[in-house]
Amino acid sequence: MSAAPALPDEPAPDGAAAQPVSGAETDVILRTEGISKRFGAVVALRGIDMHLNRGEVLGLVGDNGAGKSTFVKILCGFQRPDEGRIFVEGQEVEFHAVKDARAVGIETVYQDLALVPQLTVYENLFLNRELTSVGKIGVLSRRRMRHLARQYLDNIKVNMPDLDQEVEMLSGGQRQAVAVARATRLNARILLLDEPLAAMGAKESALIMELVKDLSSQGVSMIVIDHNYAHLFALCDRLNVIQQGRITVDTRVADTSVEELTELMVRSFQRQLLAGQEALGEIAV
């Protein structure tokens, strides 16, 4: 019987996405302080200080094992940090479970995990939030759901000709769009996107990129994890490089280039390699 949640409240004015790197405190929607995590002897994160501005798309770059995914798991409430604090809109929060993160508007979008292939587009959008009539028996109000789904998708400019189509019949990009739309429809203000452009053609990628831009202009903030620099440069406003459990570089996309970033990563990789060889050498001696 609950009414469909409307768009995220108070969309930020256009241009919010283009805020300077060190945004004013009022515009920081998510901030972490000294997040650390170790698994036994392995130190995954050594004090991550990160901030995310409202309506911003932040890319997380880093090698495998640099701590990206651990960090994201902590942000979405799946794991708890050993140390450190998380602030959402200036208020300190503590996540004991995924639903705690969800309650403050942080949602992770997995392309295939989130949707039921045999249900239609609008049924997926309203999954477990179905609109019903006749009280407790829960008879579906399909017409109302279709209508609101259409309205919402139009709002975030997702082009979905047939809402009655089963998600199984959709392309990868369309599925991603449905998954993202579902998360934001449920008032997610911060989206964590895990490789949103993986295995997508040019047309599909364009669809998702447009969606990400539209959402960020409406005030939804996003953190994107991807290995592909081209994707990150196309999607993000700002990039954070995570190396060995620390944020080593914080730069606006406009201020850097794929080449520069690649070189940076390669150089640090060589440094590590060298350090490793030296360490091995010492052991040998």
Binding site: A114, V116, L127, N128, R129, L140, R146, M169
Partner: protein
């Protein structure tokens, strides 16, 4: 795409009209396409062909008597099949439904024999049927034992229970205690179907027996079972297609991770479905007891549960979960009934019977799959 928005939102929930693509309108080709796209289309076609074949071979198939007998035979298939649809959507299976169908009448008999009123005995039997489903569900969900094994074990267990308690003796349900009324009056048979031997005294409003209720309140004479079967089928169809619960069942079967992520209580959904199929199987078993009036402890549940599963699968329900058609299950059950009845009427030797049935089911199913693949291409 604003146009598309209007047309989709204006469409009623169950849209019988072919969804016309914008600008093309309704053409014979689009109607044909719509028909082929329906998951039940092939099984309907196969059933119609079967009816035509047998009606050419024999005229007996059209008599009211024969229709009633066939439908009474098919009714448990329809009910258990509809329950299995819920199971199959969840990518689970309940093999014990057939044994529950056979055991519920024994529950009624035992409690009635112990001195309880018939109505109360029936109620207790239904509660016990639901409890069997609950146990199936709990073991499947909590201990993670595959439902195939859990319900197979339950089948053995219930079969053994009946054998032990009944001491392997058949029982007649007379519905009367002590001496029957002085002059038993035989009422005329209804719709050509004779009253069971268990109706010792004339059922009337002043001396109502369960059979009296059965034929006058639960349905009209011999049509009672089929009326109930269709009612159960309609309820399960409505549940699956038009309620929140139905969406949750489909979601749980289609992508259990996504369903759980969205906050659907997937375990509870499964347990409910186990309870639903067990309860309806028990109920249709009790109805058949009232109709037939006798019970044989040697009857084995697997013989009864397999045809409904075949009916569901022939009807277009996938064994892999997430996809189901209740209507297809009805047609599938009718197909099996008509096939068996037709083979009987055309005088096929009992020795060839199962051989033929097996071959025909395989052929029908293969056809179904091939046409289904064709339909998917149309659906895109």
């Amino acid at each position: 795409m604003a146009q598309a928005a209007v047309t989709t939102s204006d469409r009623t929930p169950v849209s019988p009209a072919p969804p016309a693509k914008a600008g093309r309108g309704v053409t014979p080709a689009s109607i044909l396409g719509w028909v082929i796209r329906q998951r039940e289309a092939t099984v309907i076609a196969i059933t119609i062909l079967t009816i035509i074949y047998f009606s050419i071979r024999t005229s007996a198939i059209y008599t009211v008597d024969n229709t009633i007998v066939t439908l009474q035979y098919v009714a448990p298939f329809i009910v258990i099949g509809a329950g299995e649809v819920l199971m199959l959507v969840l990518a689970e299976i309940d093999l014990s439904a057939g044994q529950v169908y056979l055991t519920a009448p024994w529950f009624v008999y035992w409690f009635w024999h112990a001195g309880l009123p018939v109505g109360l005995a029936i109620l207790i039997a239904l509660v016990l049927s639901a409890a069997i489903g609950l146990v199936n569900g709990l073991i499947t969900v909590w201990l993670g034992v595959p439902s195939l094994i859990v319900t197979l074990a339950m089948t053995f267990g219930l079969y053994g229970l009946v054998l032990v308690v009944s001491s392997y003796t058949q029982e007649q349900m007379t519905w009367t205690r002590g001496t029957p009324p002085a002059s038993p009056v035989q009422t005329p048979p209804c719709h050509g179907y004779p009253l069971p031997a268990s109706c010792v005294h004339a059922p009337s409003w002043s001396h109502p027996s369960p059979y009296f209720y059965y034929s006058n309140i639960l349905g009209i004479g011999g049509w009672a079972t089929i009326c109930w079967a269709l009612l159960v089928l309609a309820v399960i169809w409505f549940l699956l297609k038009h309620t929140r619960f139905g969406v949750h069942v489909t979601a749980t079967g289609g992508n259990i991770l996504a369903a759980a992520e969205a906050g659907i209580p997937v375990q509870r959904v499964k347990i409910w479905c186990f309870m639903i199929i067990s309860t309806v199987a028990g109920w249709i078993g009790i109805l058949d007891l009232i109709r037939l009036g006798s019970m044989d402890p040697g009857d084995y549940g697997l013989n009864i549960v397999l045809p409904p599963i075949v009916a569901a699968v022939v009807g277009g329900t996938a064994l892999t979960g997430g996809r189901a058609t209740v209507l297809g299950t009805l047609i599938g059950a009718l197909f099996l009934g008509i096939l068996e009845d037709g083979l009987n009427l055309t005088g096929v030797s009992a020795n060839y019977f199962y051989l033929l049935e097996g071959i025909i089911i395989l052929v029908a199913m293969s056809l179904n799959l091939q046409l289904g693949r064709f339909a998917v291409r149309f659906r895109r």
